[in-house]
């Protein structure tokens, strides 16, 4: 698909928003045992920067889930491809997402993690696209609310491209 990129959020805007989120989270989780659950792979960039902005102790862990359409998916159903290394029972858990749009994968993740009996389970997403929501999911900490656009950069990809952009851009289709 022929396309071009149009800048949506600059590096400075992103980092300022992450600093704000870091303050809010540090305030809300003061004195608690926090586990940051970074959802592979797109959220890694955000999770790293967010964790640097936290002024409270925390454990950083990663989880991966299969995505629809992956040829490697053997069963035709979503599954964990990389599980957490830490036990979250009785702990405060904050899922760190790069973007929440349809809510499908986050819905699965919430259902899965709830069965492990965390003390609390919340969601922090840098980007939120409520216009594309199919299933209802909570977003407790939100960076930017986006209109119905396809965003890339800062971890978000299009066919594995553009993850490494420092800014966030809109991918715009161009006539062939």
């Amino acid at each position: 698909m022929k396309h071009r990129l149009e800048r949506l959020l600059s590096q400075e805007e992103i980092q300022a928003e992450i600093a704000r989120l870091g303050q809010d989270i540090s305030r809300d989780y003061a004195g608690k045992e926090l586990v940051l659950v970074c959802v592979l792979r797109g959220s890694v960039y955000f999770a790293v920067d967010l964790s640097r902005r936290l002024s409270i102790p925390f454990i950083l862990d990663f989880i991966g889930i299969s995505s629809y359409g992956q040829e490697t998916d053997p069963l035709g159903i979503v599954r964990i491809t990389k599980d957490l290394d830490v036990h979250i029972a009785g702990r405060e858990v904050l899922i760190v997402e790069d973007i929440v749009d349809t809510g499908l994968s986050l819905n699965y993740l919430l259902r899965n993690l709830k069965t492990r009996h965390p003390a609390g389970l919340r969601v922090c997403s840098l980007l939120n696209v409520p216009a594309r929501r199919i299933v209802t999911v909570p977003v407790d900490y939100q960076g930017f609310e986006l209109p119905n656009v396809y965003a890339v950069g800062y971890g978000l990809d299009y066919h594995e491209r553009y993850r490494n952009l420092l800014e966030i851009a809109v991918l715009i289709e161009e006539p062939q």
């Binding site: 698909m1 199919i134 119905n148």
Partner: protein, 310 residues
């Protein structure tokens, strides 16, 4: 007459449970063998039995398959009218969903456990057993979707869900018999049947009108989101004699989310008609949650899953 339906994950021991429950209660076990004999007696060509619990992909003789499914359903309904049965598989949970004296059991076990059992019973390597389990599960899902326009994951359809890994197969039988004895007691009490949304009655091969709907259903199945296809039609306009002149049937209903979803892959500027219907729906049925997934949303979904053309 009483109908007990037993749906099962492949390798979870549903067949054993159905057979034992039927023996214990003196009910007729309806399985592949009985169905083949029963349909042959009715004059159905024996080669059609190959469509039993299957829903082939493309380029298959669909008319014949649909004919088989219709004949099967009629046969099962007639059978249940004359005697009590235990029906193994065949989408019995949907077929007898509104049957006043039906009890629906689902037999499951964790995947690793089923693969292990299948490996032992069929004498297969673990990898081959896993492949068999996967293929059988996909086949069943496809059959249910195409015969009933429904995903199998809606647990609300079942009255009893048994995990044979926890209970052992014998324990599962005992639990089922105990639950059935309680069910029989309750069945004697006159209770008003609960209102249940209808499922699409379609004689068509696939209930879906468009490829995008098929894909959307697959996405929902993947993320284990229960759905129903076109379960309800909302009248929007009536003539002076009260006849409905305009109606709206959203494509999907997601019961866990309590939301109706209408898919449209038309261009944005051509969807005004659907937008108008949606506005009217909200006016007349404010309690109903509904949304349109536009072509742009759908295209983003495909992009996200890497399914668009690069």
């Amino acid at each position: 007459m009483t109908v007990i339906t037993v749906s099962r994950q492949f390798g979870a021991g549903g067949e054993l449970l159905a057979r034992t429950v039927a023996e214990e209660l003196g009910f007729l076990l309806v399985d592949r063998k009985l169905i083949a004999a029963g349909l042959a007696e009715l004059g159905l060509p024996p080669q059609l039995v190959r469509f039993d619990e299957t829903a082939p992909k493309a380029e298959q003789p669909e008319k014949k398959r649909r004919f088989y499914v219709t004949a099967l359903h009629e046969y099962l309904m007639n059978l249940a009218a004359s005697r009590s049965i235990v029906l193994l598989g065949r989408g019995g949970q949907f077929l007898f969903r509104d049957h006043a004296d039906a009890f629906h059991i689902f037999v499951q076990a964790p995947l690793t456990q089923r693969v292990e059992w299948v490996s032992q019973i069929y004498g297969l390597e673990e990898k081959a057993a896993a492949r068999l389990v996967r293929e059988q599960e996909q086949r069943k899902r496809r059959y249910i979707r195409r015969a009933f326009g429904h995903s199998r994951v809606d647990m609300a359809l079942y009255d009893l869900i048994l995990n044979t890994a926890k209970l052992t197969p014998q324990g599962a039988v005992k639990t089922a018999l105990f639950a059935l004895s309680r069910f029989s007691e309750r069945a004697r009490q006159p209770v008003a049947p609960a209102a249940v949304p209808g499922i699409r009655e379609s004689g068509k091969d696939s209930p879906f009108m468009h490829e995008s709907e098929t894909e959307f259903a697959r996405v929902l199945d993947f993320y284990n989101i229960p759905w129903q296809y076109e379960p309800r039609t909302f009248p929007l306009q009536w003539d002076s004699e009260g006849h409905v002149t305009e109606a709206f049937t959203p494509d999907f209903y997601l019961p866990d989310q309590n939301i109706y979803v209408e898919l449209t892959t038309q261009r944005q500027k051509l969807v005004w008609k659907k937008n108008r219907k949606m506005r009217r729906l909200k006016e007349l049925y404010p309690e109903v949650n509904a949304k349109i997934v536009y072509g742009k949303d759908y295209s983003s979904l495909l992009k996200k899953f890497g399914l668009d053309k690069e």
